[in-house]
């Protein structure tokens, strides 16, 4: 479960997020919907611990993750994060990217990587480098990397941006299937209501950093 209560974030004169509340129950799917620049990405980054809120609290799995005087490091929050531009490590192969967050014996890591590559439809491409993948393949690799450690919560920041329609539809189906199979709760940020509805998300609208409606 993710509980966000009254979080705010200011960058200089710009109030990016203003006293925002949202709750994502365990195994539920919630989409934060809003126009570009309304503060969606900042909200996700605060939940992930990549930015520190100026005010408010973020609770993850029933424990405080961000609160005044407290910021649990991102890797200790049990989340997977799919970034808008995939953010694959360019100096690592696809397999190394997917296995980055997986710990344990090498054979176990390798098996997990192969499993994930298969699930996202990238079998046989593990040895390639990100620069050798198409846009859609990069997003699939990023999805595999986020899921590989088996997070209980999945955060996605407009993962379908700049994809052609057929790639979008295919990836949307993959996300739907994998999110269901993993049992992770999903917080999905988008400006496209159609994506949110296709994933069966509860929709929370955001406008100028605030919860709308």
């Amino acid at each position: 479960m993710i509980e966000v209560r009254g979080v705010s974030k200011r960058y200089g004169p710009v109030l990016a997020v203003d006293s925002f509340d949202v709750t994502v129950p365990a195994t539920a799917r919630v989409a934060v919907l809003g126009a570009s620049g309304c503060g969606k990405t900042t909200l996700l980054r605060m939940i992930a611990g990549l930015d520190v809120p100026d005010a408010g609290t973020v609770r993850i799995g029933g424990a405080d993750a961000s609160a005044p005087g407290l910021c649990i490091p991102p890797h200790a929050r049990g989340i997977g994060f799919v970034f808008q531009d995939a953010a694959l490590f360019p100096h690592m192969s696809v397999a190394a990217n997917v296995g980055y967050g997986v710990t344990g014996p090498k054979a176990q890591v390798r098996a997990r990587v192969l499993e994930l590559l298969s699930l996202v439809g990238l079998e046989g491409l593990g040895a390639r480098y990100p620069a050798e993948l198409s846009g859609g393949q990069r997003r699939r690799a990023a999805l595999a990397r986020a899921l590989a450690p088996g997070p209980a919560r999945l955060l996605m920041d407009e993962p379908l941006t700049n994809l052609d329609s057929s790639s979008r539809d295919a990836l949307l189906q993959t996300i739907d299937a994998l999110a269901a199979a993993s049992g992770a709760s999903l917080l999905y940020v988008t400006h496209d209501r159609g994506e949110a509805l296709a994933l069966g998300c509860d929709v929370v609208e955001m406008r100028d950093g605030r919860r709308a409606g």
């Binding site: 990549l50 890797h75 953010a87 490590f89 980055y100 990397r145």
Partner: protein
């Protein structure tokens, strides 16, 4: 003018200027060098020993500067901005102290240690002392190149790593490997400078191959033979330069401007914290120790003022040479390093010429300039201080072109295409291309100015009668044991350099704000 390459003429003009400035002085020696087979083959056991000393020195400098720069750069990426700025500024300030003054400073530190510890001889002598002085002299450049490389790493990649693994793992597995090419290149450039430097080793009584070249030319004045003798050093330098060019070409730059690498402060383990802080402390204290030794050496202030006043004309010549070199290098760099068209990158010629300038030892450049300009037609140039600027430009002008070239490779193709679609090429170049490259050209020019002010190897050979520079004066004084005057001159040169850098920075900020 081709439609695909509307700015080809500007680029060709810049390349031609670089060829005249940097390549011609070497090419002019080739016929004499080829016709001197005895010099080509004269790699005696003594010269092999000198080459080995040069290589040993350069290797120590490479290892020390790469390691310290890497730790300092990674520390600066994760420290609080103001603290990082302060430490980096202290470390970089040492760039404005000429290398020969670094030697004077460390010699003074050694003498102080000898007295304090009651030793019979100074603990800072010979090769280790020369390596220490060269390391502190060239460390700022390694740090600057490393900082540029680390800043080019997309912070989103670190975000992606931090979500899954601890910050220490993100540092080791993402930030360090991506910044490593630039860090290695910075160390390799320091090693190149070490290979060509004769002043610092000679201050500690260490004979190197670069000094041998200078002595050889001074003994018989055969410029062609000097080039022929230089091939072993040039070969080693070429290998080092190629080793640094390959990683440099892999430096990526997709980082959004204005974002820090670590959005939220990172949490490292104790050992990582200690290692990074040690690197930053070494970089800052090395620079601070040099300045402190120079201040103590120049004390009392009245004597320092007198020494600076005596050296006034030489300091003025150095400033004029540095300023002239910077301006010429900036203009030539802007032309040579610019893209030839929206879809074409900067010319490979720039990298080739830079490689040649980096690997040709300074005494050979000096000998080439003498051979080129010592004739009836160019007597007025040969007898003037312009030779000093030509010597500096022959060695360092490609730096500005490289800075522009790297910056040009990150220009948005779409914007460049839009500029030539809606206006004539010259207008598009002036309004769209040049303004985006001006900052890197200025930074390159500043770098050229700093190096020109400290140039000695080629300067010694082209110095017109009755003219001297601050560094030549300091070099001569150092060999007479007048370390107080050397310290005062070095501090004056450094103060002028820091003031020029600050003024350029303020000017740049004002231009960007517009």
């Amino acid at each position: 003018m081709s439609a695909r390459e509307p700015w080809r003429a500007a680029g060709a003009l810049g390349i031609a200027a670089l060829l005249v400035l940097c390549v011609l002085p070497v090419v002019v020696l080739l016929p004499a060098a080829i016709s001197d087979p005895a010099a080509l083959a004269a790699l005696s056991a003594r010269r092999l020993g000198l080459l080995a000393t040069s290589v040993r020195l350069a290797t120590i400098v490479f290892v020390a500067d790469t390691l310290v720069a890497a730790l300092a750069v990674l520390w600066a990426q994760s420290a609080r901005p103001r603290r990082a700025l302060l430490v980096v500024a202290i470390a970089l300030a040492a760039a404005f102290v000429p290398p020969v003054a670094h030697a004077a400073a460390w010699a003074a530190v050694g003498e102080g240690l000898r007295v304090a510890l009651g030793l019979s001889v100074t603990p800072l002598a010979g090769l280790p002392a020369a390596a220490l002085a060269q390391s502190t002299a060239f460390l700022p450049l390694a740090i600057a190149v490393g900082l540029a490389g680390a800043a080019a790493v997309d912070p989103t990649l670190l975000d992606a790593a931090r979500v899954q693994r601890a910050d220490g793992a993100a540092l080791r597995r993402v930030l360090l490997p991506l910044a490593l090419p630039a860090l290695l290149a910075g160390g390799a450039i320091a090693a190149l400078l070490s290979l060509g430097d004769e002043a610092v080793p000679s201050a500690f009584g260490v004979s190197t191959f670069a000094m041998e070249l200078f002595s050889s030319y001074a003994a018989d004045g055969r410029a062609g033979a000097t080039l022929a003798l230089a091939w072993p050093l040039a070969l080693v330098a070429t290998l080092v330069a190629l080793a640094c060019a390959v990683p440099l070409s892999r430096v990526s730059d997709h980082a959004p401007r204005g974002r820090r690498a670590w959005s939220a402060p990172p949490v490292f383990g104790t050992w990582t914290r200690v290692a990074l802080s040690s690197g930053a402390a070494l970089a800052a204290t090395g620079s601070a120790a040099v300045f402190a030794a120079l201040v103590v050496g120049a004390w009392p202030p009245a004597a320092a003022v007198r020494a600076v006043a005596d050296a006034g004309p030489d300091i003025a010549v150095s400033c004029a040479v540095a300023a002239a070199s910077a301006v010429v290098a900036c203009v030539v760099g802007l032309l040579a390093g610019s893209p030839r068209g929206p879809a074409s990158g900067p010319s490979r010629w720039v990298w080739g010429i830079a490689l040649l300038a980096a690997v040709v030892p300074a005494p050979v450049v000096g000998a080439g300039l003498v051979a080129l300009y010592d004739n009836a037609w160019t007597a007025s140039v040969y007898d003037s201080p312009a030779m000093l600027a030509l010597a500096a430009l022959a060695r360092f002008a490609p730096l500005a072109a490289i800075a522009v070239s790297v910056s040009a490779s990150h220009l948005g193709r779409g914007a460049l295409e839009a500029s030539v679609v809606s206006s004539p090429p010259a207008h598009a170049y002036r309004r769209v291309v040049a303004p985006q490259l001006l900052a890197s050209a200025a930074a390159g020019g500043l770098l050229v100015a700093a190096f020109s002010a400290g140039e000695l190897g080629a300067t010694l050979m082209v110095l017109p009668p009755g003219t001297s520079t601050a560094v030549v004066r300091a070099f001569n004084l150092l060999h007479y044991g007048a370390s107080e005057e050397v310290a005062a001159i070095a501090l004056a040169v450094a103060a002028i350099g820091v003031a020029a850098a600050l003024a350029s920075w303020a000017l740049g900020r004002r231009m960007w704000a517009r």
